[in-house]
Structures are given as C-alpha cells and as structure tokens.
Symmetry: C2
Subunit: 203 residues, 2 copies
C-alpha cells in the first residue's frame, strides 16, 4: 500500500560522531531514500557540480531565500552560508519519497520547528571517550579545539530530548541497519496508514 507523503528524516549528532560516514554508507545501499542537497555561498571547488554537491548561490540570493522562508535551516560558517532549501525537500515528500537531511544539531533544532512531523535521529558515540578519540584521530585539530568541541558535544547531547530516536554509532554498518529499520518502522506507523486502510474497509 502506497503512502500519501514521504518522510523527512533528519540525521544529526555531535561533531565527530560520524554523521557523514554513516550517511555515505547508507547512500551506497538501495533504500529508495532521497538525499537533500545543501545550498552554500562558498565558491565551488574543482569538480563540484551545481545541484549535485551543492546548490551554489550568491550571498544576495541566499539572504533572499532566508527572507522568503525558503531555507528550512541555515547557519554561517567561516564567512559563508550553508543551509537546506525547502523546495527540493517538499517536492520529494509530496511525491511520496523519503528524504534524509544530514545536518548539525543546531540545524536539526531549526528543522524541528517547521517540520515537527519529521523523524529526528540523534547519532551517538558509544562513549564520550570514544568521541574524543575520533576527534583526535582526525589529526587536524589542537587539544584546545578538541576540548571546545567536547564541550559543545555535551551541550548537544543535552538536546537529545528533542529527537525521536537515538542510534549508537558503534560500527557504521550497525548504525546504517538501525537507521534503515527506523525508516521501515516509521513507514508502518498506524497514524500514517490508517486513512488508506479505513477506505479499504469501505470497499
């Protein structure tokens, strides 16, 4: 039985937990999930394609989109805007496709305000010690920066209460399986199906 609308799935979690890795592994599987493309004001890098890697916008265009309520969430980072355009997400959902956004915790909280019916998944490290190891393992960040990221991570974990699900990222393939299960289960939710089944009884 076909659902009327698709799901908006928001995958988020503290910096360093492995959101990007998990989302890439999910994309490699045949799940019928659509992936939202972010918009940014930063310049395209060599090989990046507009509409594939990002929607590339001028600062003026981006700010107009914000003004017009066309960004579901956005943030500024190192002088550039990054955000999620509403149009693609809404079009996919209306067509009955499930769409996933992989975004930062603050962005997820913004999405929650406009899409409370979304499915909010918080990706958790197995422990805070392990999160520190992962941040340190990148080899690109000073001890001070790692300390400050850990402080932010603790604050972000406090926001877990605003999410629907918590997925432990102990192993990437296990985290991917859990996310796929959540999407399947959400598609079996009675509230999403009952209207269609009630019409079945009236056949």
């Amino acid at each position: 039985m076909k659902r009327e609308k698709g799901l908006l799935i928001v995958l988020s979690g503290p910096s360093g937990v492995g959101k990007g890795t998990v989302c890439s592994a999910l994309r490699e599987q045949d799940t019928h999930i659509r992936y939202s493309v972010s918009a940014t004001t930063r310049h395209p890098r060599a090989g990046e394609v507009d509409g594939v890697n990002y929607f590339f916008k001028s600062k003026e265009e981006f700010e107009r989109l914000i003004q017009d309520g066309e960004m579901i969430e956005y943030a500024q980072y190192v002088g550039n805007y990054y955000g999620t355009p509403r149009a693609y997400v809404e079009e996919m959902i209306e067509k009955g496709h499930d769409v996933i956004l992989e975004i930062e915790v603050q962005g997820a909280i913004q999405v929650k305000e406009t899409f409370p019916e979304g499915v909010f998944i918080f990706l958790m490290p197995p422990s805070l010690k392990e999160l520190r190891n992962r941040l340190a393992g990148r080899g690109t960040e000073s001890v001070d920066l790692i300390d400050s990221r850990m402080t932010v991570a603790r604050e972000e974990i406090e926001l877990m209460d605003k999410y629907d699900y918590v997925v432990e990222n102990d192993e990437v393939h296990l985290a991917v399986d859990r996310i796929k299960s959540i999407v399947t289960a959400e598609n079996c939710k009675k509230d999403r199906l009952i209207h269609q089944y009630q019409s079945l009884v009236k056949e």
Copy 2:
C-alpha cells in the same frame, strides 16, 4: 548500550491474515525475541509439553489466575479458556528481553489496557478480497462461516486505531522484516534510552 527493560510486542490482526505463519517465520530467525506461552484449560494433545506448547491448567486454576489478575488477557473458545499468563511476560521484560505475544484482536485490546507501553502491531491483509481468499483456501469453512469471519474482520480493522503499527502481510518474509525493523526502531526510541545517555554526559 543495554536497555533497562525489554519490550512487550503484541502481534495481532484478523483471523486468516497469517499471524501464526508470520510468527513461526520470525521464530526461525535469530532475533533474541522471546515468545510468550499461552495457558489453556483444554487437554494436552499427543506430544504437547506443559510449558512449551501451553501451560495446561484446570478450569479452577485458570479462574483463580483470572481472579488474582494473573492473566494479561483471556477468552473462552469452544468451552475452554485460553490466555496469556502475566508472570512469564513480566519476568522476561524485567530481565531486558523483548517478548512477543501473537493473539487475537480482542485479546490485544485487553493487553493495551494493562500494558499501554507495549508495541502493538496490526497485521493486515493486502486487501479484503485476499483475506477472503485465504479463509476460503483453508478449505475447512463454509461460505456462511467465511461471511461471518469477514464481518468480524471488518470490525477488527476498525480497531486498528488502537495499534501503533500496521504491517501488511503481502509476503511472509516481507512482513517478518517489517516486524524486525519495528523492534529495532523501538529499541532506538529516545524515550527508552535518554536516562542512560544523560548519565553518560555526567561521566
């Protein structure tokens, strides 16, 4: 991360939808789910073992269990009692095991009253026509009996609103996968995990 308590999963749906077949197929898989054993006052058949196929009780024992609130749900059928004893279910849940009950719709509604926190799954036929085909396919029932079962089925489908999930039994292996996904997703629910994660932050 280990959950404190297990889930009570109630699998139900109209007569003929294939609850028994789906539950048997689920049991053949390695899911860590425990299966509740029903109690009955009917006599054991050849080969049936007390505590495995059923808990066999006298009528007086069964009625005392009902009086003492020791049956989660029960019904009478052809002069015998059938029901789900509370003790096994509660023991498994307390130990952190997920337990599944495969029961009739009226029983599920009874369970909902005492275990509102349970996970209630309604197994649906792909269509009412298909349900009629399955009932007729048994070859054991008259057209009149099939008609009356179809009337009951329509009434039961009206009770779908009391469930959490609707799983279509189009193919047994697909229904089993959906149920496994629901169990996985329920075990990732934030409300079931947040207390443990909050203590993680205080490490």
